[in-house]
């Protein structure tokens, strides 16, 4: 579903990513971990069609990210590290706007927004301006936008940032349902409890993929960050 082959990217005159290759098949989540500045967000941004100047090949559902950008954007749901929002727009208006931008008719967009408000338990703040929301609810808005059009591939950069325990539970449930339905996900995070929801984990160090391993192997390794999580 998501496939990166020998992906490289230069930023400010140096190679920020080098020869990144991995694939995320349907029904699986791939966690991308690594220290700050290792290039996690950049890999996710490349997959989310935001960085045109990269080398190598990135395919989403068999479509090339560089040449089939609009089509790829219909298939992905992207949560960036920082959620951009219009402070005067209400949560409901925001979701209806994004539904419309994904090509839904007005009534279908309203229904999708209402379902998202229910799914992410945002009904109490549905008609609040987003400028008044706390960080946790802003993150839920970002997640709700990404799930709104039922994408095949989720690209999630620190998806649980700012979420409380309830929000994390909602996120975990939504991710599990997405994977069970045959979708796939790429998670960029340094949070160990999120990585445990990934089927495989890749460790980025200075822009290079240092190691890829199944999560269950890593959990049993005492020196790895996931040991003792479960």
């Amino acid at each position: 579903m998501l496939e990166l082959t020998q992906v490289g990217c230069r930023m400010a005159g140096r190679w920020a990513l080098r020869e990144i290759s991995f694939a995320v098949p349907a029904g699986q989540a791939f966690g991308l971990s690594g220290p700050s500045g290792s290039g996690k967000s950049l890999v996710l941004a490349v997959c989310a069609t935001l960085i045109p100047g990269y080398t190598g090949i990135v395919r989403v559902c068999g479509e090339d990210v560089r040449s089939r950008r609009s089509s790829v954007r219909r298939r992905i749901g992207y949560v960036p590290d920082a959620i951009g929002l219009d402070p005067d727009m209400t949560v409901r208006e925001d979701l209806e706007f994004f539904a419309g931008a994904h090509g839904m008719a007005r009534q279908a967009g309203r229904n999708a927004a209402a379902a998202a408000l229910e799914r992410w338990q945002m009904r109490p703040v549905a008609d609040e301006p987003m400028g008044t929301l706390g960080r946790g609810f802003r993150q839920r808005v970002g997640l709700a936008r990404a799930w709104l059009h039922e994408p095949q591939v989720l690209i999630l950069d620190e998806p649980a940032g700012g979420l409380d325990a309830e929000g994390r539970e909602l996120f975990a449930g939504a991710l599990r349902r997405h994977l069970d339905a045959g979708g796939s996900a790429l998670l960029g995070t340094s949070s160990a409890d999120l990585l445990q929801w990934s089927d495989r984990i890749g460790f980025l160090v200075a822009g290079s993929l240092h190691r890829v391993a199944a999560t269950r192997e890593l959990v049993s390794e005492p020196a790895m960050p996931l040991s003792g999580v479960r």
Binding site: G39, S71, R74
Partner: protein, 174 residues
Amino acid sequence: MIPFWRVGVWRGRIPAVASFCALHTLLVAWVAWYIIEMHWSTAPVGASATPLPGVAFRAAWIAGALCLLVVAPGVGAGTAQGRWIGPDPTRTLPVSETGRAASAWIASCVMSGLIWAAPLPFYLALFGMGAFTVWDAAPPFTLQVAVVTVGPLFGVLFARWRSRKSWTAEAGHV
């Protein structure tokens, strides 16, 4: 493109457009009034107040054109940029760059057009008092219309370029 046009480009813009309308009108009126006052102060006692001197119209439209030259690209940039706090979340929507830029350009042309039209009653008053003829008005107004249609385009292109640069810089903050 349609929801972007309906919500993204118009939302929250009315107060800013109204302020620019007021600014443009006040500037044009103040410049024209200043020239007319100077003219009257040097006119012989008992001379007719009309027709007003043509220089009042010329100075007014030049001031108006300079105002539009500054405001129109700003309106275009603001419209293309949207009112997002943080990174523009519409960057990954399946809306083409061309469609998005065209929406912003058309909307900012309409807004700039409203700003351009704001002092028209004042110009009509000057026309009524003989400050200019229809033929005098044609070239300046054509120039101003060109400014309110082309000016926003520069703003839109600048905003799209800056938006792309900021996304790249953010993602590349490795």
